[in-house]
């Protein structure tokens, strides 16, 4: 089973710490959602995994072998990101063929199927494709390459909703049929959360959450009711968001509720509602000044 191990990885540019001491492990067959605000270090992490640059400290290993400059490891990793194709005069077909050449797990039949599904014009220069079509091209390359580690970094840019749906469907299907490690970095949290087996949240270069999607979701609870009762109830819990309207208050707590507390809430007439991943992500990565926005 393929396993990617990131251990104590850091990335520093002069004095700027882009990534600070990251440690996590990813396993074959799982789809990971990598979430973080702009500039949190998502793309930096992904570019390190893809050996686009060398970390300043720590190790990144695929099946116990270092990734950077290792031919066996590097050919197992596909990094799909928003590429600048403004100068790419090569036609879709040609560029696909060139990529295929170096991708040992590339499945031409699957590529043809995706081309049809995304309605990619084979004989059009890539630079003349619309932004959404260029993204569809990238996704086609990433999916059809069947690399044991496939990274999609905001690969949906410019895609319309139906096209994004195709992309999501294919990810689910692929993980069922040809399981690999898929990493999805995204801002469209609510749209893509159903794809995640695990969620990684990066904030200011550090990993603040790495949990199974279900476990993480079960930790976020909205409690709504009388302000005094809420204030009493939330003591001892980590409150990541509060809202007041008249005498009613709603608090978003992060942490598993005990059965006892659930009973207590019911008795006090407090409403319990599950939080969405998007809400958890937003409030866990909240910074000073965000409240004013």
């Amino acid at each position: 089973m393929d396993m990617l191990e990131v251990r104590n990885v850091g990335l520093t540019y002069n004095d700027f710490v882009a990534i600070d001491d990251l440690t996590f492990t990813l396993e074959q067959g799982k789809t990971y959602g990598l979430l973080g605000r702009n500039g949190a270090g998502k793309t930096s992490i992904l570019s390190l995994i893809a050996a686009f640059q060398l970390q300043t400290k720590g190790t990144i290993k695929l099946n116990k072998a270092s990734v950077f400059e290792n031919p066996e490891s590097m050919q197992k990793i596909s990094f799909v990101y928003d590429q600048d194709y403004s100068e790419e005069t090569e036609k879709v077909k040609k560029l696909l063929e060139a990529t295929k050449k170096y991708r040992p797990y590339f499945d031409q039949e699957y590529a043809d199927y995706l081309i049809k599904k995304f309605k990619l014009p084979l004989n059009k220069p890539v630079k003349n494709l619309s932004k959404g079509m260029q993204s569809a091209f990238n996704v086609t390359v990433g999916l059809a390459s069947r690399s044991p580690i496939t990274i999609f970094d905001e690969s949906y840019l410019g895609m319309d909703v139906p096209t994004r749906e195709i992309f999501y469907e294919e990810i689910l299907k692929e993980q069922g049929e040809n399981p690999r490690i898929i990493i999805l970095s995204t801002h469209l949290v609510s749209e893509m959360d159903h794809l995640f087996d695990e969620v990684l949240v990066v904030h200011k270069g550090s990993l603040i959450v790495k949990e199974q999607y279900e476990d993480l979701i079960s930790k976020g609870v909205h409690i709504t009711g009388n302000e005094n009762s809420i204030n009493k109830f939330i003591q001892g819990y980590k409150v990541i968001h509060e809202q007041k309207l008249g005498g009613t208050k709603s608090a978003l707590i992060y942490g598993s509720l005990t059965e006892q507390d659930r009973e207590l809430a019911k008795k006090d007439g407090l409403q319990l509602n599950p939080a969405t991943l998007q809400e958890l992500f937003t409030h866990l990565t909240k910074e000073k000044g965000d409240e004013d926005e």
Partner: protein
């Protein structure tokens, strides 16, 4: 086939396609000048030289450009395709050596065809009746100089790719100076700040050794600069 040989083969065939434009272009220009050159004032078509010397300057510029393109066109694409920088580097280097040998070889064949035509027909397309040793000298210098130009072009864009544009300008400066030094060793008259340097005609061995030294230095520097280079996204 080891990976870098595979990359070398791919890069070589890609660049050879570009080189065909140079070769076809130079044939058209040469025969165009042969047929219509006399219309240009001061031009004497009987002074047209053989392909090797006729193309020595365009081939330098061509190889400089191919070298310049070697970083931006192939580095990102190959690493993104899961190829190591090491395989990219050796592939690029070997494709350059291959190209530096192929281009003058093709011209040599064209010169041989011209020689046959000159010998058996009344046409002289500028075939210069060189002794075989002089031709060998021309061939060796041609190979070394165009390989040097490739390496120097590659070196410049590695500078731009790895660092910022200001540092890139420094790479250009180093490239220009080394180009001048190499030129001087092959008999060019060099003028820097009004001071002209003319080393005159030097022995082939010396000029070759100096060029080889520069090629090796660039080979080492280019590897050092690309071994852990950050890929532009």
């Amino acid at each position: 086939m080891s990976r870098h040989w595979e990359i070398a083969k791919d890069l070589y065939s890609e660049k050879l396609k570009w080189a065909l434009w140079l070769i076809i272009g130079s044939v058209i220009v040469k025969y165009g000048l042969y047929m219509f050159g006399d219309l240009i004032e001061g031009f004497d078509s009987t002074e047209l030289s053989g392909f090797i010397s006729f193309t020595s300057n365009p081939a330098r510029i061509f190889m400089l450009i191919v070298g310049l393109l070697s970083t931006y066109v192939f580095l990102t694409f190959l690493v993104q395709s899961g190829i190591t920088r090491r395989d990219y580097y050796y592939g690029t280097l070997m494709s350059a050596i291959g190209l530096s040998l192929t281009i003058p070889s093709i011209y040599l064949v064209l010169e041989a065809i011209e020689w046959v035509l000159y010998t058996f027909t009344p046409y002289n397309f500028g075939y210069t009746n060189l002794s075989s040793s002089a031709l060998l000298e021309e061939f060796v210098s041609y190979v070394l100089i165009i390989l040097f130009y490739f390496m120097v072009g590659w070196f410049i864009t590695i500078g731009f790719y790895r660092y910022n544009w200001i540092s890139g300008l420094l790479f250009i400066l180093i490239a220009v100076i080394s180009g001048m030094v190499i030129g001087a060793f092959w008999g060019d008259e060099i003028e820097i700040f009004g001071i002209s340097i003319n080393l005159g005609s030097l022995p082939l061995l010396l000029s070759s050794l100096v060029t080889i030294f520069f090629i090796i230095a660039l080979t080492v520097v280019n590897r050092l600069l690309t071994r852990d280079i950050k890929i532009k996204m």
